[in-house]
Structures are given as C-alpha cells and as structure tokens.
Amino acid sequence: MAKLKVGDGISEGVTIGPLIDETAASDVMDFIKDATDKGATVVAGGSRAVQGGSFVEPTILTNVSEDMRVFKEEIFGPVAPLFSFKTEEDAIRMANNTEVGLASYFYSRDIGRVWRVAEALEYGIVGINEGLISNEMAPFGGVKESGQGREGSKYGLDDYLEIKYMCLGGLDQ
C-alpha cells in the first residue's frame, strides 16, 4: 500500500488518479460508511485524499460481512474489503453469491483445487494465479447479469456476423 501514490495522473510516479467526478467519489465514500456503520474496520485509507476534488485514498476494510454493500455491489473505487472463509465450498458459495458474473480470480497451487474451483465459478473469466486477464486474443465477457457476447478473440468476430444458409436445389436433370 505504501507504494501507491495518489495525484494528477500526468505527474511522474503517480499510481492512483482521481475518480471520474465528485459523484463517483461520494458514492465510494457511501460504500465505506455503509461498511463501517455495520461494523467494518478501516485498516488503511478510508477518507477523501488530501488532493481534494474526486480523489479518494486507497482503502482496506476488514471485519466485513455479506450483508454489506461492499459484498453485494460493484464499488468502482480504490476500496478493498477483506472477507475470510474456512473451506473451499465456502469460498465458491460466497464467490457465486451475486447476480453478476464477469471476472473472477483465485490463487492456489493445488492442481486438483485449480480445476475444481475454476469449473465451479459462475463467471465468464477466471484468472488463476493471475490478476491481469484482459487481452485482444482472449474472449472477454460475462455470464448472468454481466451480459452476453464476447469481445476479442475469434469469438469476438462472431458477434458482428450473421450466418446465411444457402440451399441450392434442382441439381438432378
């Protein structure tokens, strides 16, 4: 966290720019407030950044639970809530306990677990021991309420093509 530097993106060394506008920043603050009101602990950040405007500090929350907005909704800001789980089944249940299913990630070095969890996650994209999953050669897209269709890859072209079936008859003389 100490490596993160908030500021104007055009300045050298900055890693965290502003959010897109003031509304976005206050939305993110609402997420933090909802969590802390329900018992979450702020272990890093938690406030608007000193730059003012739409800058928000990179934030980490612990003691979070599934009834909080940070579990149910997309935060779209620099806030990381840390949930704990006990078993593989718990992790899969929690991960799938949402209406959407775009990207997911998990880290494990157990080959059996890697296959089991990857197949059980209801997501269009699974990053396995990898946090950067997007590139033009791979199909990007989600399941459930994350959408339909894929962008990039050979599948990405199908989204812009129609199939036309032509039946040529009368070959017999």
Binding site: V14, T15, I16, I20, Y107, E145, Q148, K164
Partner: protein, 300 residues
C-alpha cells in the same frame, strides 16, 4: 492541451458524422473536464436525436460500399490504423489522462491495449470461413456463408475511453459493418482523436461516426431506429437492461458488457507474494474503476 501534443490536430471539437466535423444543430456544446484539475480541456458537440439519425443514415449509405470491400482491403486499412495509433501513442495517452484521470503509464498501456484489438481483427477478418454441409438429397447442395450484421450502434463508458470502443469498432469494421458510436460524455476526446487517425488510415466517410451529447436522446434513437441491426453496450447493468428492452421492439442483436462483482480468492496453499501482487494490480488499476477489478477479497 493542444500545445502539449506533438500533433495538435488530434484534439478535436464537434462531432464526427459522415467523414466531417460538425456542430450540434442548435450550436450547443459540452465541456470536457480534467478530473485532476477541474479545468475544461475542450468543448464537444451536444448532439441529440436528429444528429444521431443523420449519423445512422450516413452509416447506412457507407455500408453499401464498405460491405463490398474484400477482407484483404479491410485488413490493410485496419493495419494502417493500428500503426498510426501506435505512432501517436504518446499524444493519445496524454489526451486520455487529461480527460479520464488515470496515470500516464496506464494511459499508454490502454492505447496499446486498444490498438491491439485493431491489429487482431485486421488479421482475423481474413479468416471468416463458412461451411459446406452434407446434403439430405442428391438434388441439393447446402452451404453457409457469414456476412456482417449491418449498421452497428456502440455505446461505451468513461473508464477505458479508447479500448472499450476499439474493441467494438475493430471487429465491426473487419466484418464489413459500419458504426455509429456514442462514447461517454465525460471522456469523448480519446475517440475523437483516434477517429482522426482512422480517417488518415483510409477508413472511408460514414464507416465510423461518433456523436456525443444528450445521452438519453442518442440512446433512444440508436435502440429504436430500424437501420441499426445490432447494439453493443459496455456500461452498467441497469442501463444495459433498459437498452435490451428498447432493442426488443425491432429485434436487434445486442452485445452487453455490464457490471461485475469480481471475487479474488486466496487459498491457504497459494503463493502469497504473487497473490498480493495480483490483488494490488487488479484492485487499484485505474483507481479501482474497472469492471474486472477485484471487488471482494476472500482469504482462507
């Protein structure tokens, strides 16, 4: 802003319809604001229903000739466009950072990432194969061909002003489709800059059209106009549902890239150093404003 660019012509005002830079019919404009400083970078056209309809009609006319070009011809134009994007990477990145706020290094990365879609589909469009199918009786022969869907409407968000749009335009053009695009009003300058490069690469007038302005009016025209055969949207789930419902009236094809709620699970057998590194890059990229950012870290 212009004086910070090697090529000041990449900073545009207006809207891009049928190969020309035009004002809104009523002459009104929208300011594009730098979220870091709060200063206005440029003013773009505040278009509505009528301008959007003209853009759609221009795309329909252009489709007649564009859809008849060969895949090889389209591949060459797309390849030139990719090359120009990379030659102008620094200028495009500066415009992106100014309007969107992300760090310049990330903006450079997004330009390359967005350009890669143009490169990929320039190559892939030569491989749109059909099928021959065994015939059920001797007097018949069965064949499938693939054809572009037609005029496509593209609506994109502010978090990746370059790449979210190239990812739609590149496959559309590769397939022989023409497009009408509505980038987010907060970040239209990246799209207006790269369409200047598309024109220089040889993309004909009317093949790519871009409008900004009254979002609800533009969206309604795109989802309701029967000329549009497909609508592709990247953005929030509620807006996506609304667009799908509107598209149902004319049975348009839709592609929807909507919201996520990404879990990031770290099991007790994980390599912790790489998990921490992966979590940081996935969470804090673009200040957490991506639809694939880890939203919930689940730790065993």
């Amino acid at each position: 802003m212009k004086e910070q660019l090697s090529d000041g012509l990449l900073l545009k005002a207006g809207a891009y319809i049928d190969g020309g830079w035009v004002s809104a019919d009523d002459g009104t404009t929208l300011p594009v604001v730098n979220p870091s400083s709060g200063s206005v970078i440029a003013e773009v056209a505040r278009c509505g229903t009528n301008e959007t309809r003209r853009a759609i009609e221009a795309a329909e006319v252009a489709h007649k000739s564009w859809s008849r070009t060969t895949a090889k011809e389209r591949a060459a134009i797309l390849r030139r466009w990719f090359d120009l994007m990379m030659e102008n990477q620094e200028d495009l990145a500066k415009i992106l950072t100014a309007e969107q706020g992300k760090p310049l290094a990330e903006a450079r990365g997004e330009i390359a990432y967005g350009a890669n879609y143009i490169e990929w589909f320039s190559e892939e469009c030569k491989r749109v194969y059909g099928d021959t199918i065994p015939h059920p009786s001797n007097d018949k022969r069965l064949v499938c061909i693939k054809q572009g869907v037609g005029v496509v409407a593209c609506i994109t968000p502010w978090n990746f002003p370059n790449a979210m749009l190239t990812r739609k335009i590149a496959p559309a053009l590769a397939a022989g489709c023409t497009v009408v695009c509505k980038p987010a009003n907060a970040t239209p300058l990246s799209a207006y800059a790269f369409v200047e490069l598309a024109e220089r690469a040889g993309v004909p007038a009317g093949v790519i059209n871009i409008v900004t302005g009254k979002t609800a009016e533009i969206g309604k025209e795109m989802s309701g106009n029967p000329i549009i055969r497909k609508l592709t949207f990247t953005g929030s789930t509620p807006v996506g549902k609304q667009l799908m419902a509107e598209c149902a009236a004319t049975v348009k094809r839709t592609s929807m890239e909507l919201g996520g709620n990404a879990p990031f699970i770290v099991f007790d057998d994980a390599d912790l150093d790489s998990a921490v590194e992966g979590a940081m890059v996935s969470k804090y990229r673009n200040a957490g404003q991506t639809c694939v950012c880890d939203n919930r870290l689940l730790i065993q």
